[in-house]
């Protein structure tokens, strides 16, 4: 807790531990933890929203919560899980791992990295402050059966926020504005983060690590960040047009004013579909790291897996209208987008087959990360296949906006993304904390979650095809929907209990787990060649890379027939690495902590609230403060000395 007094132009106090050290940190590992813990807290919040939804749907014609509350809950559940859970958790992995995997001491722009987190956090705060500050209203002329409770005082237009339902006429009140401003703010965070991580991948790889010697996780991160770079501006544009429609009477999406509500749908999904790959590709990267290590084999067809990921990224921009097959966009458009959607199945299939081939002939160790990785492949396959059934356009006319779709994307985003994320959390836990997690508890977590997940989302395929529409707070009794809805609700509680097991394991093992060695899994990538947890500067000496899976080849010899023998000096080599990284000859220079990214984030938050209250003097004041604060932060940022002690 001792602040280090330093000299320099601005003369700041730089704490090394404690609250302010986290606020001012520019260390990619700490920023990753901030993303991770924030994302996980939102995961719990979004999960509680899901439980309320499932309680309401447990029985037909249920009155557990009101329709207004229900509409807010499903909107916030979707928004939270996408923007505030899977995206930041993916950002946490990318932030933590990219420098370690690439052999770098930090990301390319450490302060920009921090800024990305603070903007994301600001977005989350704006979004959730609506539960306290915002008001929902019935459309002019419509009547509510009850005053809307706080539980219903958050955005209620669905995560897709289609106008005109989300427009001023049909959604008066401010809940939609909070959503729009919050998402726009979080989007800026994702955008700056993508610039930073792309630069890191292209410029900070260790000597010898050509692109085709990068771990697959780094490749998938590259694709994800390109997707973010190109898709976030699109949603931002759509959001601003909608804000203008709501606040200033423009009519971009207002048919009666010459606008077009379908234009919004195109813009939204032009972002929204790449977004799906933004959510799944990091998990694919994680799984591509975990499977080889626990199969004790290299990834089968590294190049194919990499190019399949790139292909998915490219094709992801050409399939958006498959979310709109029912919107009457014309036969040619529908046929074209049906075909482009089918083509995505090809690279996706390549990945699944290559993962299975990676396990084939291996020596599988069923640790928790491996179980989650195998679970990912098995469950994502189901989501992928139901995705193909959506590309059969006329079939999608039946499926779209039903629980069949809800089942589909939960198999992709929960059975896929979240299983991948849990695989990663267990896999890198020893690196992150320097301790081992409890394996048995983790396996209980996996099996409970696996069963609960399938109980919750499996029956939804059936419910959708039996006519259960999405986003409905109730459904009639006696049309065959009762039984499987009840099963689904029970499954949701199994998932919730499995998350409790995970949390217990995490909290307990972090403090009391057995100390983790440098390389507990006998792994393949560079992050396992440095101490657990890594020193602040990551690498005492920047490694030189000779091959893909370089660390494995430092430990093992492989002959032409693929037979491997552990080098006799492998253990000595690891001990030597530990020493080298813990006690480097020259202490590496690191960027100093900076107060300006959080200050800029705070200013942006003030500016955002100013926008929401722009019709009041307080709002105008906040806008002015925000602008001045942002300008001052960036100016000081630019003038800040890079190293305090220099």
């Amino acid at each position: 807790m001792t602040p280090i007094a330093t000299g320099g132009v601005l003369r700041r106090r730089i704490p090394a531990t404690g609250f302010w050290s986290w606020v001012t940190t520019v260390d990619h590992k700490r920023i990753a933890k901030l993303y991770g813990y924030t994302g996980f807290i939102f995961f719990i919040v979004g999960g509680l929203e899901a439980l309320l939804i499932r309680l309401q749907l447990a029985r037909p014609e249920n009155a557990f919560i009101t329709p207004a509350e229900y509409n807010s809950l499903f909107t916030m559940h979707g928004t939270t899980m996408i923007f505030l859970v899977v995206m930041p958790l993916a950002a946490a992995f990318m932030n933590y791992l990219l420098p370690l995997m690439l052999g770098a001491r930090d990301v390319a722009f450490p302060r920009l990295n921090a800024l990305g987190y603070w903007f994301f956090l600001g977005g989350g705060i704006v979004l959730y402050s609506s539960y306290i500050l915002a008001t929902a209203g019935a459309p002019a002329g419509g009547f509510l059966p009850e005053t809307i409770s706080r539980l219903g005082s958050a955005a209620n237009g669905g995560w897709f926020m289609y106008p005109p339902n989300s427009g001023a006429q049909f959604s008066p009140g401010s809940v939609i504005d909070f959503w729009l401003v919050g998402i726009a703010l979080a989007g800026v965070g994702s955008l700056v983060s993508s610039v930073n991580l792309l630069t890191t991948i292209f410029n900070l790889r260790a000597p010898g690590m050509s692109l085709m010697k990068m771990p697959v996780f780094a490749w998938m991160s590259m694709v994800v960040n390109f997707l973010l770079l190109f898709s976030i501006p699109i949603i931002t544009v759509a959001i601003f047009m909608l804000i203008f429609d709501r606040q200033f009477g423009t009519a971009f999406f207002e048919a009666s004013g010459g606008g077009d509500p379908v234009l919004y749908q195109h813009l939204f999904w032009l972002f929204g579909h790449p977004e799906v790959y933004i959510l799944i590709l990091p998990a694919m990267g994680i799984v591509s790291e975990v499977l080889p290590v626990f199969s004790r084999k290299p990834l089968f067809g590294y190049a194919a897996v990499v190019f399949a990921g790139i292909a998915i990224g490219f094709l992801g921009f050409g399939v958006w209208a498959h979310h709109m097959f029912a919107s009457g966009i014309g036969p040619i458009t529908q046929a074209a987008f049906g075909l482009s959607t089918m083509t995505i199945a090809i690279p996706t299939g390549v990945k699944v087959f290559n993962w299975i081939a990676t396990m084939w002939g291996g020596k599988l160790r069923f640790t928790a990360p491996m179980l989650f990785a195998i679970g990912f492949v098995a469950m994502f396959t189901i989501g992928g296949l139901s995705g193909v059934t959506h590309s059969i356009v006329p079939a999608d006319w039946q499926q779209t906006d039903t629980y069949y779709v809800v089942a589909h994307f939960h198999y992709v985003l929960f059975g896929g993304s979240m299983f991948g994320i849990f695989a990663g959390l267990y896999y890198w836990f020893p690196k992150l904390t320097g301790r081992m997690y409890r394996e048995r508890l983790a396996k209980y977590h996996f099996w409970l979650m696996f069963i609960g997940f399938n109980m919750t989302f499996g029956p939804m395929h059936y419910l959708g095809l039996m006519g259960m529409a999405r986003r409905t707070y109730t459904y009639p009794a006696g049309i065959g929907l009762e039984f499987w809805n009840m099963i689904s609700t029970i499954g949701a509680f199994l998932i919730a209990s499995s998350v409790l097991l995970f949390m217990a394991n995490w909290i307990n093992s972090r403090r009391r787990g057995a100390p983790a060695p440098i390389d507990p899994w006998d792994a393949r990538t560079l992050e396992w060649s440095i101490p657990s947890p890594p020193p602040e500067y990551n690498f005492g000496e920047v490694p030189t890379v000779r091959s893909l899976d370089d660390f494995w080849h430092q430990k093992y010899d492989e002959d032409d027939l693929g037979r491997v023998t552990r080098r006799p000096d492998a253990d000595a080599h690891i001990a030597e690495l530990t020493e080298k990284h813990l006690h480097p000859e020259h202490r590496p220079h690191l960027p100093s902590p900076s107060a300006f990214p959080p200050l800029a984030g705070l200013s942006a938050l003030g500016f955002a609230f100013g926008l929401l209250y722009h019709a009041t003097p307080v709002g105008l004041g906040l806008i002015a403060l925000g602008v001045v604060g942002l300008f001052a932060s960036f100016l000081s940022w630019a003038r800040e000395p890079l190293e305090e002690n220099a």
Binding site: P145, N165, G301, A303, M359, P394, I479, T565
Partner: protein, 334 residues
């Protein structure tokens, strides 16, 4: 492939369908009752089967690999296989061929099912928050909630919305089509079996979305002609002194006429609410979320927003006598 076999295959596919076998529920998309819905099912069934087979093969491969290649505690290291170009090409090309095979009938079905103008009976559909309005331009009929069509006759729906985006969906007759303000969208459907088919607005449209339902009543041509003749009759005029006449007075004086049309009684309404000229000929009210029964009508008139959240029809704080009179009038409007 006949229906029992197809059903059995699909049941095997999901293992979940078992619960529904032998019982057709009103919105079962596996129980098509018209050519459009049949075409969709015929197109998607082979895809479901192919997907099911691939699912089984992939999952079997995973389970097999997990069993066969588990660590048995020996010292042998597995052979380091970095890939196999021939295999990888194989599992790129085979899915591509399967998809190409699926793509052709898909494109053909898309074009067939969206071709217009159709040659069917025209019905104009207008989506409102939260009910569907149906107009028969050739018969000069306006009705709501219940779409009455003759069996075996192609119907062309010409759809638009009065407010937000809705989606018209009656799964046993056709797929969905969105109903969009400022635009006209089209949907063809036909029912080959007499009966009642349920539908639901399938695009989230606000508070009452869940309660925005549809009934399609499919009747014989003779019954349809009779229905048309009935609907073209002027509204029934209740005899003086009856409860129904009292109800009519209430209808005229309580503000109902500002939104509800009854031909010859309140023609000047903005038609923001269902046309009630022949409401007693329909068996549902309130966006087809309630039945045209005395109990439901009572509850509805006592507090509409409580029965259908968000309802634009306010709570008029009617006395129970007033409600009884109004119900008598509505029941007279056959």
């Amino acid at each position: 492939m006949n229906r029992p076999i197809r059903r059995a295959l699909l049941a095997a596919l999901f293992a979940l369908l078992l619960a529904a076998c032998g019982q057709v529920t009103p919105m079962d998309s596996f129980a098509p009752a018209g050519p459009e819905a049949h075409r969709i099912l015929n197109l998607s069934t082979p895809v479901f089967i192919i997907a099911g087979v691939i699912f089984l093969l992939v999952e079997a491969a995973i389970v097999f690999a997990v069993w066969k290649f588990r660590d048995r505690g020996d010292d042998l290291e597995p052979t380091q296989i970095h890939g196999n170009t021939r295999l990888e090409l194989l599992w790129t090309i085979i899915p591509a061929l399967i998809l190409a095979g699926v793509a052709i009938p898909t494109v053909k079905a898309v074009i067939d099912l969206t071709t217009r103008p159709g040659d069917g009976m025209e019905v104009k559909v207008t989506g409102h928050q939260w009910w569907f309005e149906f107009q028969y331009p050739n018969h000069d009929i306006t009705t709501a909630n219940v779409l009455v069509i003759p069996v075996g006759t192609p119907v062309d729906l010409e759809m638009t919305s009065a407010d937000v985006v809705h989606s018209f969906w009656v799964p046993r007759l056709a797929g969905k089509r969105d109903v969009i303000p400022g635009q006209t969208t089209y949907l063809k459907l036909q029912a080959d079996e007499i009966g009642e088919y349920w539908g639901q607005c399938a695009e989230f449209c606000g508070l009452g979305h869940a309660n925005m339902r549809i009934r399609v009543q499919v009747v014989s041509q003779e019954d349809f002609d009779a229905w048309v003749a009935d609907q073209r009759q002027p509204a029934v005029e209740p005899a003086n002194g009856t409860p129904a006449a009292a109800g009519k007075d209430l209808f005229l004086n309580k503000g109902c006429t500002s939104c509800h049309v009854i031909d010859g009684v309140s023609d000047t309404a903005q038609a923001a609410a269902p046309n009630l000229t022949h409401i007693a000929s329909r068996d549902v009210i309130a966006g087809a979320s309630l039945n045209f029964t005395e109990d439901d009508l009572k509850a509805w008139l006592a507090n509409p927003p409580a029965m259908k959240p968000g309802s634009y029809m306010p709570n008029l704080h009617l006395s129970s006598d007033d409600i009884d009179s109004l119900i008598a009038y509505l029941e007279a409007l056959k």
